[in-house]
Protein backbone atom coordinates (compact mmCIF):
# COMPACT_ATOMS: atom_id res chain seq x y z
CA UNK A 1 0.00 0.00 0.00
CA UNK A 2 1.50 3.32 -1.00
CA UNK A 3 1.94 6.11 1.49
CA UNK A 4 -0.77 8.17 -0.18
CA UNK A 5 -3.27 5.33 0.09
CA UNK A 6 -2.54 5.04 3.81
CA UNK A 7 -3.00 8.76 4.33
CA UNK A 8 -6.22 8.70 2.30
CA UNK A 9 -7.57 5.83 4.35
CA UNK A 10 -6.69 7.59 7.59
CA UNK A 11 -8.40 10.78 6.41
CA UNK A 12 -11.53 8.84 5.43
CA UNK A 13 -11.62 7.09 8.82
CA UNK A 14 -10.95 10.31 10.72
CA UNK A 15 -13.74 12.06 8.88
CA UNK A 16 -16.14 9.20 9.68
CA UNK A 17 -14.91 8.55 13.21
CA UNK A 18 -14.84 12.09 14.60
CA UNK A 19 -18.58 12.77 14.15
CA UNK A 20 -19.49 9.30 15.42
CA UNK A 21 -17.54 10.03 18.61
CA UNK A 22 -19.02 13.54 18.81
CA UNK A 23 -22.53 12.14 18.41
CA UNK A 24 -21.79 9.54 21.09
CA UNK A 25 -20.72 12.31 23.45
CA UNK A 26 -23.86 14.31 22.70
CA UNK A 27 -22.13 17.10 20.76
CA UNK A 28 -24.31 17.53 17.64
CA UNK A 29 -22.53 20.78 16.74
CA UNK A 30 -19.40 18.92 15.75
CA UNK A 31 -21.43 16.49 13.66
CA UNK A 32 -22.82 19.45 11.72
CA UNK A 33 -19.32 20.87 11.37
CA UNK A 34 -18.13 17.55 9.96
CA UNK A 35 -21.09 17.53 7.56
CA UNK A 36 -19.96 20.94 6.36
CA UNK A 37 -16.50 19.50 5.71
CA UNK A 38 -17.99 16.60 3.79
CA UNK A 39 -20.27 18.73 1.61
CA UNK A 40 -17.56 21.29 0.79
CA UNK A 41 -15.19 18.41 0.01
CA UNK A 42 -17.79 16.93 -2.34
CA UNK A 43 -18.13 20.26 -4.17
CA UNK A 44 -14.37 20.46 -4.47
CA UNK A 45 -14.13 16.86 -5.72
CA UNK A 46 -16.30 18.04 -8.59
CA UNK A 47 -14.03 20.99 -9.31
CA UNK A 48 -10.96 18.77 -8.92
CA UNK A 49 -12.16 16.74 -11.89
CA UNK A 50 -11.96 19.82 -14.12
CA UNK A 51 -9.08 21.57 -12.39
CA UNK A 52 -6.88 18.74 -11.21
CA UNK A 53 -7.31 16.23 -14.03
CA UNK A 54 -8.30 18.52 -16.88
CA UNK A 55 -6.26 21.59 -15.93
CA UNK A 56 -9.39 23.72 -16.47
CA UNK A 57 -9.17 26.57 -13.99
CA UNK A 58 -12.86 27.31 -13.62
CA UNK A 59 -13.46 30.35 -11.46
CA UNK A 60 -17.20 29.90 -11.76
CA UNK A 61 -18.04 26.65 -10.04
CA UNK A 62 -20.06 28.52 -7.44
CA UNK A 63 -22.66 28.81 -10.22
CA UNK A 64 -23.19 25.05 -10.19
CA UNK A 65 -22.98 24.82 -6.42
CA UNK A 66 -25.61 27.53 -6.11
CA UNK A 67 -27.81 26.07 -8.85
CA UNK A 68 -27.86 22.76 -6.99
CA UNK A 69 -28.81 24.63 -3.86
CA UNK A 70 -31.57 26.59 -5.57
CA UNK A 71 -32.98 23.40 -7.11
CA UNK A 72 -33.33 21.97 -3.62
CA UNK A 73 -34.76 25.22 -2.27
CA UNK A 74 -37.21 25.81 -5.10
CA UNK A 75 -38.53 22.23 -5.28
CA UNK A 76 -39.00 22.11 -1.53
CA UNK A 77 -40.73 25.50 -1.43
CA UNK A 78 -43.17 24.45 -4.14
CA UNK A 79 -43.87 21.20 -2.35
CA UNK A 80 -44.37 23.03 0.95
CA UNK A 81 -46.76 25.57 -0.57
CA UNK A 82 -48.42 22.85 -2.67
CA UNK A 83 -47.98 24.97 -5.80
CA UNK A 84 -47.13 23.23 -9.04
CA UNK A 85 -43.73 24.09 -10.52
CA UNK A 86 -44.86 24.30 -14.15
CA UNK A 87 -48.22 23.27 -15.49
CA UNK A 88 -48.80 19.98 -13.63
CA UNK A 89 -45.37 19.17 -12.26
CA UNK A 90 -45.42 19.44 -8.46
CA UNK A 91 -42.46 20.30 -6.20
CA UNK A 92 -40.93 17.60 -4.08
CA UNK A 93 -39.23 17.07 -0.76
CA UNK A 94 -37.70 13.73 -1.70
CA UNK A 95 -33.93 14.00 -1.59
CA UNK A 96 -33.19 11.47 -4.36
CA UNK A 97 -35.51 13.32 -6.75
CA UNK A 98 -33.99 16.66 -5.76
CA UNK A 99 -30.48 15.34 -6.25
CA UNK A 100 -31.26 14.01 -9.70
CA UNK A 101 -32.80 17.33 -10.69
CA UNK A 102 -29.86 19.29 -9.23
CA UNK A 103 -27.35 17.14 -11.10
CA UNK A 104 -29.32 17.43 -14.34
CA UNK A 105 -29.75 21.19 -14.05
CA UNK A 106 -26.06 21.75 -13.23
CA UNK A 107 -25.05 19.59 -16.19
CA UNK A 108 -27.48 21.29 -18.59
CA UNK A 109 -26.28 24.76 -17.59
CA UNK A 110 -22.64 23.68 -17.71
CA UNK A 111 -22.91 22.52 -21.32
CA UNK A 112 -23.51 25.93 -22.95
CA UNK A 113 -21.20 27.71 -20.48
CA UNK A 114 -18.50 25.14 -21.16
CA UNK A 115 -19.09 25.20 -24.91
CA UNK A 116 -18.45 28.96 -24.99
CA UNK A 117 -15.72 29.11 -22.35
CA UNK A 118 -13.74 26.17 -23.73
CA UNK A 119 -13.27 27.96 -27.02
CA UNK A 120 -10.76 30.01 -25.07
CA UNK A 121 -7.98 29.04 -22.70
CA UNK A 122 -5.71 30.44 -20.04
CA UNK A 123 -6.72 33.74 -18.49
CA UNK A 124 -9.71 34.09 -20.81
CA UNK A 125 -11.13 30.84 -19.50
CA UNK A 126 -10.74 31.97 -15.89
CA UNK A 127 -12.43 35.29 -16.54
CA UNK A 128 -15.24 33.91 -18.67
CA UNK A 129 -16.23 31.21 -16.21
CA UNK A 130 -16.16 33.91 -13.53
CA UNK A 131 -18.32 36.18 -15.66
CA UNK A 132 -20.92 33.48 -16.32
CA UNK A 133 -21.12 32.69 -12.63
CA UNK A 134 -21.64 36.40 -11.91
CA UNK A 135 -24.39 36.48 -14.51
CA UNK A 136 -26.28 33.76 -12.65
CA UNK A 137 -25.51 35.48 -9.34
CA UNK A 138 -27.00 38.78 -10.49
CA UNK A 139 -29.97 36.96 -11.98
CA UNK A 140 -30.64 35.29 -8.62
CA UNK A 141 -30.39 38.65 -6.85
CA UNK A 142 -32.71 40.50 -9.19
CA UNK A 143 -35.30 37.73 -9.59
CA UNK A 144 -37.69 38.25 -6.70
CA UNK A 145 -39.79 35.08 -7.04
CA UNK A 146 -37.36 32.97 -4.98
CA UNK A 147 -36.21 35.38 -2.36
CA UNK A 148 -33.92 37.59 -4.45
CA UNK A 149 -31.18 38.97 -2.27
CA UNK A 150 -32.66 37.40 0.88
CA UNK A 151 -32.51 33.82 -0.36
CA UNK A 152 -34.88 31.01 0.49
CA UNK A 153 -35.31 29.28 3.83
CA UNK A 154 -36.36 25.64 3.94
CA UNK A 155 -38.84 25.06 6.73
CA UNK A 156 -37.43 21.59 7.27
CA UNK A 157 -34.84 19.28 5.83
CA UNK A 158 -35.99 17.27 2.82
CA UNK A 159 -36.76 13.59 3.26
CA UNK A 160 -34.77 10.49 2.44
CA UNK A 161 -36.69 7.18 2.49
CA UNK A 162 -36.11 5.35 5.75
CA UNK A 163 -33.82 7.97 7.33
CA UNK A 164 -34.60 10.71 9.82
CA UNK A 165 -32.71 13.50 8.08
CA UNK A 166 -33.58 16.09 10.73
CA UNK A 167 -31.05 14.49 13.08
CA UNK A 168 -27.43 15.54 12.48
CA UNK A 169 -25.83 12.08 12.43
CA UNK A 170 -28.05 10.35 9.83
CA UNK A 171 -27.71 13.39 7.59
CA UNK A 172 -23.96 13.32 8.03
CA UNK A 173 -23.92 9.65 6.99
CA UNK A 174 -25.92 10.41 3.84
CA UNK A 175 -23.46 13.13 2.88
CA UNK A 176 -20.49 10.96 3.77
CA UNK A 177 -21.80 8.17 1.55
CA UNK A 178 -22.26 10.70 -1.25
CA UNK A 179 -18.68 11.90 -0.82
CA UNK A 180 -17.28 8.36 -0.88
CA UNK A 181 -19.35 7.62 -3.97
CA UNK A 182 -17.98 10.71 -5.68
CA UNK A 183 -14.41 9.81 -4.73
CA UNK A 184 -14.93 6.33 -6.16
CA UNK A 185 -16.29 7.86 -9.34
CA UNK A 186 -13.29 10.21 -9.49
CA UNK A 187 -10.94 7.25 -9.16
CA UNK A 188 -12.79 5.33 -11.87
CA UNK A 189 -12.73 8.32 -14.22
CA UNK A 190 -9.06 8.95 -13.50
CA UNK A 191 -8.15 5.39 -14.46
CA UNK A 192 -10.46 5.14 -17.46
CA UNK A 193 -9.65 5.76 -21.10
CA UNK A 194 -11.60 9.00 -20.82
CA UNK A 195 -9.50 10.04 -17.83
CA UNK A 196 -6.27 9.35 -19.69
CA UNK A 197 -7.48 11.45 -22.60
CA UNK A 198 -8.49 14.24 -20.21
CA UNK A 199 -5.07 14.29 -18.56
CA UNK A 200 -3.43 14.17 -21.96
CA UNK A 201 -5.54 17.18 -22.95
CA UNK A 202 -4.17 19.02 -19.93
CA UNK A 203 -0.58 18.13 -20.73
CA UNK A 204 -0.66 18.70 -24.45
CA UNK A 205 -3.87 19.27 -26.37
CA UNK A 206 -2.17 19.36 -29.74
CA UNK A 207 -0.67 15.90 -29.31
CA UNK A 208 -4.01 14.54 -28.20
CA UNK A 209 -5.58 15.98 -31.35
CA UNK A 210 -2.76 14.41 -33.38
CA UNK A 211 -3.71 10.92 -32.19
CA UNK A 212 -7.29 11.55 -33.26
CA UNK A 213 -9.07 12.64 -30.08
CA UNK A 214 -10.59 16.12 -30.06
CA UNK A 215 -9.59 17.83 -26.79
CA UNK A 216 -12.65 20.11 -26.93
CA UNK A 217 -15.25 17.38 -26.49
CA UNK A 218 -13.20 15.62 -23.81
CA UNK A 219 -12.89 18.88 -21.87
CA UNK A 220 -16.55 19.72 -22.34
CA UNK A 221 -17.67 16.36 -20.94
CA UNK A 222 -15.26 16.75 -18.03
CA UNK A 223 -16.49 20.28 -17.36
CA UNK A 224 -20.12 19.14 -17.34
CA UNK A 225 -19.39 16.12 -15.15
CA UNK A 226 -17.47 18.34 -12.78
CA UNK A 227 -20.39 20.77 -12.63
CA UNK A 228 -22.82 17.92 -11.93
CA UNK A 229 -20.87 16.73 -8.89
CA UNK A 230 -20.59 20.29 -7.60
CA UNK A 231 -24.33 20.81 -8.21
CA UNK A 232 -25.08 17.67 -6.20
CA UNK A 233 -22.99 19.11 -3.35
CA UNK A 234 -24.97 22.34 -3.63
CA UNK A 235 -28.25 20.47 -3.05
CA UNK A 236 -26.78 18.79 0.03
CA UNK A 237 -25.46 22.14 1.28
CA UNK A 238 -28.90 23.73 0.99
CA UNK A 239 -30.36 20.93 3.08
CA UNK A 240 -27.52 21.15 5.58
CA UNK A 241 -28.15 24.84 6.27
CA UNK A 242 -31.87 24.66 5.47
CA UNK A 243 -31.17 27.83 3.54
CA UNK A 244 -30.08 28.80 0.08
CA UNK A 245 -29.08 32.31 -0.94
CA UNK A 246 -27.08 34.20 -3.54
CA UNK A 247 -23.95 33.85 -1.38
CA UNK A 248 -23.72 30.25 -2.60
CA UNK A 249 -23.39 31.67 -6.12
CA UNK A 250 -20.91 34.41 -5.27
CA UNK A 251 -17.41 34.48 -6.63
CA UNK A 252 -16.01 34.13 -3.11
CA UNK A 253 -17.51 30.66 -3.12
CA UNK A 254 -15.76 29.85 -6.40
CA UNK A 255 -12.51 31.12 -4.91
CA UNK A 256 -13.00 29.05 -1.77
CA UNK A 257 -13.54 25.87 -3.78
CA UNK A 258 -10.22 26.44 -5.54
CA UNK A 259 -8.60 27.21 -2.19
CA UNK A 260 -9.86 23.90 -0.79
CA UNK A 261 -8.21 21.98 -3.59
CA UNK A 262 -4.92 23.81 -3.24
CA UNK A 263 -4.84 23.48 0.56
CA UNK A 264 -5.23 19.73 0.17
CA UNK A 265 -3.29 19.06 -3.01
CA UNK A 266 -4.32 19.62 -6.60
CA UNK A 267 -5.27 16.66 -8.78
CA UNK A 268 -5.06 14.15 -5.93
CA UNK A 269 -7.95 11.93 -4.99
CA UNK A 270 -8.19 13.11 -1.38
CA UNK A 271 -6.88 16.64 -1.99
CA UNK A 272 -10.35 18.22 -1.67
CA UNK A 273 -11.09 16.19 1.47
CA UNK A 274 -7.88 17.24 3.20
CA UNK A 275 -8.42 20.80 1.98
CA UNK A 276 -11.98 20.98 3.31
CA UNK A 277 -10.85 19.62 6.67
CA UNK A 278 -8.12 22.27 6.95
CA UNK A 279 -10.40 25.05 5.70
CA UNK A 280 -13.26 24.33 8.09
CA UNK A 281 -10.74 23.84 10.90
CA UNK A 282 -9.22 27.27 10.22
CA UNK A 283 -12.64 28.82 9.85
CA UNK A 284 -13.75 27.36 13.18
CA UNK A 285 -10.56 27.83 15.21
CA UNK A 286 -9.48 31.20 13.79
CA UNK A 287 -13.11 32.35 13.68
CA UNK A 288 -13.36 31.50 17.40
CA UNK A 289 -10.26 33.54 18.23
CA UNK A 290 -10.79 36.59 16.06
CA UNK A 291 -13.50 38.16 13.98
CA UNK A 292 -10.79 38.95 11.43
CA UNK A 293 -10.08 35.32 10.59
CA UNK A 294 -10.21 35.97 6.85
CA UNK A 295 -7.20 38.26 7.22
CA UNK A 296 -5.18 35.41 8.68
CA UNK A 297 -6.61 32.92 6.23
CA UNK A 298 -5.32 35.23 3.51
CA UNK A 299 -1.85 35.28 5.05
CA UNK A 300 -1.79 31.49 5.42
CA UNK A 301 -3.01 30.99 1.88
CA UNK A 302 -0.40 33.41 0.56
CA UNK A 303 2.29 31.52 2.45
CA UNK A 304 1.11 28.19 1.02
CA UNK A 305 1.00 29.47 -2.55
CA UNK A 306 4.41 31.14 -2.35
CA UNK A 307 6.34 28.62 -0.31
CA UNK A 308 4.54 25.29 0.19
CA UNK A 309 3.20 24.14 -3.15
CA UNK A 310 1.51 20.78 -3.20
CA UNK A 311 -0.79 21.33 -0.21
CA UNK A 312 -1.17 19.05 2.79
CA UNK A 313 -1.00 15.81 0.80
CA UNK A 314 2.10 17.09 -0.99
CA UNK A 315 3.62 17.65 2.44
CA UNK A 316 2.62 14.22 3.76
CA UNK A 317 3.11 12.03 0.70
CA UNK A 318 5.54 13.84 -1.58
CA UNK A 319 4.92 14.56 -5.22
CA UNK A 320 2.09 12.76 -6.97
CA UNK A 321 3.07 10.15 -9.50
CA UNK A 322 1.84 11.79 -12.67
CA UNK A 323 1.82 15.56 -12.71
Amino acid sequence: MSRETTVNLLLALLLLGAPLVAAGMGEPFYVTLATRVVVLALAAVGLNLALGLGGLLSFGHAAFFGLGGYVAGILATHAFNAEPLFADIPGTTSMPLIWMTAVAVAGLVALPIGAISLRTSGVYFIMITLAFAQMIYYFAISWPAYGGEDGLSLSMRNAFPGVNTAKPLPYFLICYAALMGALLLFRIIEGSRFGSALQAARQNGTRLAAVGIAPFSIRLVAFAASAMITGFAGALYADLNRFVGPSMLSWHMSGELIVLIILGGKGRLFGPVAGAMIFVFFEYVLGGITERWQFFLGLILLGIVLFARGGLLGLLCGKPRHV
Binding site: L51, L57, F59, I116, R119, T120, G122, V123, Y124, I126, M127, I128, L130, A131, F132, Q134, M135, Y138, F139, I141, S142, W143, P144, W251, G255, I258, V259, I262, K266, R292, Q294, F295, L297, G298, L299, L301, L302, V305, L306, R309
Partner: protein, 306 residues
Protein backbone atom coordinates in the same frame (compact mmCIF):
# COMPACT_ATOMS: atom_id res chain seq x y z
CA UNK B 1 -39.01 64.09 -22.74
CA UNK B 2 -37.91 60.62 -23.85
CA UNK B 3 -34.96 62.00 -25.85
CA UNK B 4 -33.72 63.94 -22.83
CA UNK B 5 -33.91 60.82 -20.70
CA UNK B 6 -32.18 58.86 -23.42
CA UNK B 7 -29.30 61.35 -23.62
CA UNK B 8 -29.01 61.36 -19.86
CA UNK B 9 -28.83 57.55 -19.74
CA UNK B 10 -26.32 57.49 -22.59
CA UNK B 11 -24.09 59.87 -20.62
CA UNK B 12 -24.50 57.68 -17.52
CA UNK B 13 -23.43 54.70 -19.58
CA UNK B 14 -20.45 56.62 -20.87
CA UNK B 15 -19.49 57.62 -17.33
CA UNK B 16 -19.67 53.99 -16.19
CA UNK B 17 -17.63 53.04 -19.24
CA UNK B 18 -14.95 55.60 -18.45
CA UNK B 19 -14.67 54.35 -14.89
CA UNK B 20 -14.40 50.78 -16.14
CA UNK B 21 -11.72 51.90 -18.57
CA UNK B 22 -9.59 53.26 -15.72
CA UNK B 23 -9.81 49.82 -14.05
CA UNK B 24 -9.45 47.78 -17.19
CA UNK B 25 -6.49 49.77 -18.54
CA UNK B 26 -4.42 48.87 -15.47
CA UNK B 27 -5.50 45.22 -15.54
CA UNK B 28 -4.80 44.78 -19.21
CA UNK B 29 -1.45 46.61 -19.00
CA UNK B 30 -0.34 44.37 -16.14
CA UNK B 31 -1.46 41.28 -18.01
CA UNK B 32 0.06 42.42 -21.28
CA UNK B 33 3.47 43.26 -19.85
CA UNK B 34 3.87 40.79 -17.01
CA UNK B 35 1.44 38.05 -17.99
CA UNK B 36 -0.16 38.32 -14.55
CA UNK B 37 -3.84 38.01 -13.70
CA UNK B 38 -4.43 40.34 -10.78
CA UNK B 39 -7.64 39.72 -8.83
CA UNK B 40 -6.53 42.24 -6.20
CA UNK B 41 -7.02 45.12 -8.63
CA UNK B 42 -10.42 45.79 -7.07
CA UNK B 43 -8.76 46.18 -3.69
CA UNK B 44 -6.55 48.94 -5.11
CA UNK B 45 -9.73 50.67 -6.30
CA UNK B 46 -11.08 50.40 -2.77
CA UNK B 47 -7.82 51.74 -1.32
CA UNK B 48 -8.02 54.77 -3.60
CA UNK B 49 -11.57 55.49 -2.45
CA UNK B 50 -10.72 55.10 1.24
CA UNK B 51 -7.61 57.26 0.94
CA UNK B 52 -9.56 60.01 -0.82
CA UNK B 53 -12.44 59.91 1.67
CA UNK B 54 -10.14 59.92 4.72
CA UNK B 55 -7.82 62.66 3.50
CA UNK B 56 -10.68 64.78 2.16
CA UNK B 57 -12.41 64.52 5.54
CA UNK B 58 -9.22 65.51 7.36
CA UNK B 59 -8.17 68.39 5.11
CA UNK B 60 -11.54 69.49 3.80
CA UNK B 61 -10.28 69.37 0.24
CA UNK B 62 -11.39 66.79 -2.32
CA UNK B 63 -8.38 67.63 -4.49
CA UNK B 64 -5.81 66.80 -1.82
CA UNK B 65 -7.81 63.61 -1.27
CA UNK B 66 -7.60 62.82 -4.96
CA UNK B 67 -3.81 63.18 -4.90
CA UNK B 68 -3.70 61.05 -1.75
CA UNK B 69 -5.73 58.35 -3.49
CA UNK B 70 -3.25 58.22 -6.38
CA UNK B 71 -0.33 58.11 -3.97
CA UNK B 72 -1.90 55.50 -1.69
CA UNK B 73 -2.96 53.16 -4.49
CA UNK B 74 0.38 53.47 -6.31
CA UNK B 75 2.28 53.04 -3.03
CA UNK B 76 0.33 49.97 -1.93
CA UNK B 77 0.60 48.63 -5.48
CA UNK B 78 4.37 49.02 -5.46
CA UNK B 79 4.68 47.37 -2.04
CA UNK B 80 2.48 44.45 -3.11
CA UNK B 81 4.47 44.05 -6.30
CA UNK B 82 7.80 43.91 -4.50
CA UNK B 83 6.59 41.71 -1.65
CA UNK B 84 4.31 39.23 -3.40
CA UNK B 85 3.53 39.74 -7.07
CA UNK B 86 7.14 39.60 -8.18
CA UNK B 87 7.32 35.96 -7.11
CA UNK B 88 4.33 35.07 -9.27
CA UNK B 89 5.46 36.03 -12.77
CA UNK B 90 6.92 32.60 -13.51
CA UNK B 91 4.06 30.72 -11.88
CA UNK B 92 0.99 29.36 -13.63
CA UNK B 93 -2.34 31.17 -13.57
CA UNK B 94 -3.63 29.01 -10.75
CA UNK B 95 -0.96 30.28 -8.35
CA UNK B 96 -1.55 33.85 -9.50
CA UNK B 97 -5.29 33.55 -8.95
CA UNK B 98 -4.83 32.06 -5.49
CA UNK B 99 -2.17 34.49 -4.31
CA UNK B 100 -4.12 37.53 -5.48
CA UNK B 101 -7.31 36.02 -4.00
CA UNK B 102 -5.40 35.80 -0.71
CA UNK B 103 -4.41 39.46 -1.15
CA UNK B 104 -8.09 40.38 -1.50
CA UNK B 105 -8.89 38.64 1.78
CA UNK B 106 -5.99 40.42 3.48
CA UNK B 107 -6.70 43.88 2.04
CA UNK B 108 -10.47 43.71 2.56
CA UNK B 109 -10.22 42.50 6.15
CA UNK B 110 -7.37 44.96 6.73
CA UNK B 111 -9.51 47.85 5.49
CA UNK B 112 -12.40 46.71 7.69
CA UNK B 113 -10.00 46.60 10.61
CA UNK B 114 -8.75 50.13 10.00
CA UNK B 115 -11.95 51.86 8.93
CA UNK B 116 -14.73 49.75 10.44
CA UNK B 117 -17.71 48.31 8.63
CA UNK B 118 -19.61 51.56 8.26
CA UNK B 119 -19.38 53.22 4.87
CA UNK B 120 -17.57 56.56 4.55
CA UNK B 121 -18.98 59.40 2.49
CA UNK B 122 -17.20 61.69 0.11
CA UNK B 123 -18.69 64.97 -1.11
CA UNK B 124 -18.52 66.17 -4.67
CA UNK B 125 -16.04 69.09 -4.73
CA UNK B 126 -17.79 72.52 -4.72
CA UNK B 127 -16.29 73.49 -8.09
CA UNK B 128 -18.04 70.54 -9.73
CA UNK B 129 -21.40 70.67 -7.97
CA UNK B 130 -24.43 71.67 -9.94
CA UNK B 131 -25.73 70.63 -13.30
CA UNK B 132 -25.33 71.47 -16.95
CA UNK B 133 -28.18 72.05 -19.36
CA UNK B 134 -28.44 69.38 -22.03
CA UNK B 135 -29.64 70.06 -25.57
CA UNK B 136 -33.35 69.32 -25.50
CA UNK B 137 -33.96 70.87 -22.10
CA UNK B 138 -32.60 68.34 -19.59
CA UNK B 139 -30.07 68.77 -16.82
CA UNK B 140 -26.99 66.68 -16.22
CA UNK B 141 -24.68 66.49 -13.21
CA UNK B 142 -21.46 68.43 -13.87
CA UNK B 143 -19.42 65.98 -11.78
CA UNK B 144 -20.35 63.03 -13.97
CA UNK B 145 -19.38 65.01 -17.06
CA UNK B 146 -16.05 65.76 -15.36
CA UNK B 147 -15.48 62.01 -14.83
CA UNK B 148 -16.04 61.44 -18.54
CA UNK B 149 -13.55 64.23 -19.18
CA UNK B 150 -10.97 62.61 -16.89
CA UNK B 151 -11.41 59.34 -18.75
CA UNK B 152 -10.79 61.01 -22.11
CA UNK B 153 -7.68 62.75 -20.73
CA UNK B 154 -6.35 59.50 -19.20
CA UNK B 155 -6.97 57.58 -22.42
CA UNK B 156 -5.10 60.22 -24.42
CA UNK B 157 -2.34 60.37 -21.83
CA UNK B 158 -1.90 56.59 -21.84
CA UNK B 159 -1.80 56.60 -25.63
CA UNK B 160 0.95 59.26 -25.63
CA UNK B 161 2.82 57.52 -22.79
CA UNK B 162 2.87 54.19 -24.56
CA UNK B 163 3.47 55.35 -28.11
CA UNK B 164 5.69 58.42 -27.59
CA UNK B 165 7.86 58.06 -24.47
CA UNK B 166 10.87 55.99 -23.54
CA UNK B 167 8.96 54.29 -20.73
CA UNK B 168 6.22 53.42 -23.21
CA UNK B 169 8.77 51.99 -25.58
CA UNK B 170 10.09 49.76 -22.81
CA UNK B 171 6.57 48.68 -21.91
CA UNK B 172 5.89 47.71 -25.51
CA UNK B 173 9.24 45.95 -25.71
CA UNK B 174 8.45 44.11 -22.48
CA UNK B 175 5.18 42.92 -23.98
CA UNK B 176 6.82 41.39 -27.00
CA UNK B 177 10.05 39.95 -25.55
CA UNK B 178 11.03 40.31 -21.94
CA UNK B 179 14.30 38.36 -22.13
CA UNK B 180 15.52 40.49 -24.98
CA UNK B 181 14.97 43.86 -23.30
CA UNK B 182 16.56 42.44 -20.15
CA UNK B 183 19.57 41.46 -22.22
CA UNK B 184 19.66 44.97 -23.66
CA UNK B 185 20.20 46.37 -20.21
CA UNK B 186 16.72 47.50 -19.17
CA UNK B 187 16.05 46.85 -15.49
CA UNK B 188 13.03 44.59 -15.84
CA UNK B 189 12.35 44.48 -12.10
CA UNK B 190 11.94 48.24 -11.85
CA UNK B 191 9.95 48.39 -15.07
CA UNK B 192 7.50 45.83 -13.70
CA UNK B 193 7.14 47.70 -10.42
CA UNK B 194 6.49 50.95 -12.30
CA UNK B 195 3.87 49.33 -14.57
CA UNK B 196 2.14 47.74 -11.61
CA UNK B 197 2.13 51.01 -9.65
CA UNK B 198 0.78 52.83 -12.72
CA UNK B 199 -2.07 50.33 -13.04
CA UNK B 200 -2.72 50.61 -9.32
CA UNK B 201 -2.83 54.42 -9.49
CA UNK B 202 -5.42 54.28 -12.29
CA UNK B 203 -7.54 51.92 -10.17
CA UNK B 204 -7.13 54.25 -7.17
CA UNK B 205 -8.19 57.21 -9.30
CA UNK B 206 -11.31 55.35 -10.43
CA UNK B 207 -12.12 54.49 -6.82
CA UNK B 208 -11.71 58.07 -5.62
CA UNK B 209 -13.82 59.50 -8.46
CA UNK B 210 -16.64 57.03 -7.92
CA UNK B 211 -16.37 57.40 -4.14
CA UNK B 212 -18.12 60.78 -4.45
CA UNK B 213 -21.07 59.16 -6.26
CA UNK B 214 -21.50 56.10 -4.05
CA UNK B 215 -20.61 55.28 -0.47
CA UNK B 216 -17.03 54.20 0.22
CA UNK B 217 -17.03 50.74 1.77
CA UNK B 218 -15.18 47.45 1.97
CA UNK B 219 -15.96 45.20 -0.97
CA UNK B 220 -16.85 48.10 -3.31
CA UNK B 221 -14.08 47.00 -5.69
CA UNK B 222 -15.35 43.50 -6.38
CA UNK B 223 -18.32 44.14 -8.67
CA UNK B 224 -16.20 46.66 -10.59
CA UNK B 225 -13.34 44.18 -10.87
CA UNK B 226 -15.60 41.60 -12.45
CA UNK B 227 -17.04 44.14 -14.88
CA UNK B 228 -13.46 45.14 -15.72
CA UNK B 229 -12.71 41.48 -16.47
CA UNK B 230 -15.66 41.40 -18.84
CA UNK B 231 -14.31 44.57 -20.44
CA UNK B 232 -10.85 43.19 -21.11
CA UNK B 233 -12.19 39.85 -22.27
CA UNK B 234 -14.37 41.68 -24.79
CA UNK B 235 -11.61 44.09 -25.79
CA UNK B 236 -8.82 41.54 -26.00
CA UNK B 237 -6.45 41.01 -23.09
CA UNK B 238 -3.35 43.18 -23.28
CA UNK B 239 -4.83 45.83 -25.56
CA UNK B 240 -5.43 49.33 -24.18
CA UNK B 241 -7.49 50.22 -27.22
CA UNK B 242 -9.55 47.10 -26.61
CA UNK B 243 -10.02 48.14 -22.99
CA UNK B 244 -11.36 51.53 -24.09
CA UNK B 245 -13.78 50.10 -26.65
CA UNK B 246 -14.81 47.27 -24.34
CA UNK B 247 -15.40 49.66 -21.45
CA UNK B 248 -17.65 51.91 -23.50
CA UNK B 249 -19.57 48.91 -24.85
CA UNK B 250 -20.09 47.44 -21.38
CA UNK B 251 -20.95 50.79 -19.77
CA UNK B 252 -23.47 51.79 -22.40
CA UNK B 253 -25.03 48.35 -22.89
CA UNK B 254 -25.46 47.85 -19.15
CA UNK B 255 -26.99 51.28 -18.52
CA UNK B 256 -29.21 51.28 -21.59
CA UNK B 257 -30.34 47.71 -20.89
CA UNK B 258 -31.47 48.65 -17.41
CA UNK B 259 -33.24 51.71 -18.81
CA UNK B 260 -34.82 50.27 -21.96
CA UNK B 261 -35.55 46.59 -21.29
CA UNK B 262 -38.35 47.13 -18.73
CA UNK B 263 -40.07 49.63 -21.04
CA UNK B 264 -39.67 47.35 -24.06
CA UNK B 265 -41.11 44.40 -22.17
CA UNK B 266 -43.96 46.57 -20.96
CA UNK B 267 -45.26 46.59 -24.52
CA UNK B 268 -46.01 42.85 -24.31
CA UNK B 269 -46.86 42.23 -20.64
CA UNK B 270 -48.24 43.91 -17.50
CA UNK B 271 -46.04 46.75 -16.22
CA UNK B 272 -45.16 45.28 -12.80
CA UNK B 273 -44.08 41.98 -14.35
CA UNK B 274 -42.11 43.83 -17.03
CA UNK B 275 -40.17 45.76 -14.39
CA UNK B 276 -38.97 42.66 -12.52
CA UNK B 277 -38.29 40.54 -15.59
CA UNK B 278 -36.66 43.49 -17.34
CA UNK B 279 -34.39 44.18 -14.38
CA UNK B 280 -33.38 40.52 -14.14
CA UNK B 281 -32.65 40.29 -17.86
CA UNK B 282 -30.80 43.62 -17.87
CA UNK B 283 -28.44 42.38 -15.16
CA UNK B 284 -27.47 39.51 -17.48
CA UNK B 285 -27.25 41.54 -20.65
CA UNK B 286 -23.52 42.37 -20.69
CA UNK B 287 -22.63 38.73 -20.13
CA UNK B 288 -24.78 37.75 -23.07
CA UNK B 289 -23.02 40.40 -25.17
CA UNK B 290 -19.68 39.03 -23.98
CA UNK B 291 -20.68 35.48 -24.88
CA UNK B 292 -21.80 36.61 -28.33
CA UNK B 293 -18.56 38.48 -29.01
CA UNK B 294 -16.50 35.53 -27.83
CA UNK B 295 -18.48 33.12 -29.93
CA UNK B 296 -17.23 34.98 -33.02
CA UNK B 297 -13.87 36.27 -31.76
CA UNK B 298 -12.58 33.99 -29.00
CA UNK B 299 -9.68 36.28 -28.16
CA UNK B 300 -11.60 39.53 -28.02
CA UNK B 301 -12.02 42.43 -30.41
CA UNK B 302 -8.46 43.78 -30.39
CA UNK B 303 -6.37 40.89 -29.14
CA UNK B 304 -2.73 41.79 -28.57
CA UNK B 305 -1.74 38.12 -28.32
CA UNK B 306 -3.56 36.47 -31.15
Amino acid sequence: MFTTLLIEQLLNGLQLGVMLFLMAAGLTLIFGVMGLINLAHGSLYMIGAFACATVAAATGSFWIGLIASLAAAAGVGAIIEVAVIRRLYDRDHLDQVLATFALILILSEGARWLFGSFPLYLDIPPQLQGAVALPGGGQYQLYRLAIIGVGVVVAAGLYLLISRTRLGMRIRAGESDREMIGALGVDIGTLYTVVFALGAALAGLAGALVGALQSVQVGMGEPVLILAFVVIVIGGIGSIKGALVGAVIVGVVDTMGRFLLPSLLALTMPASQATTIGAALASMLIYVVMALILAFRPSGLFSAHS
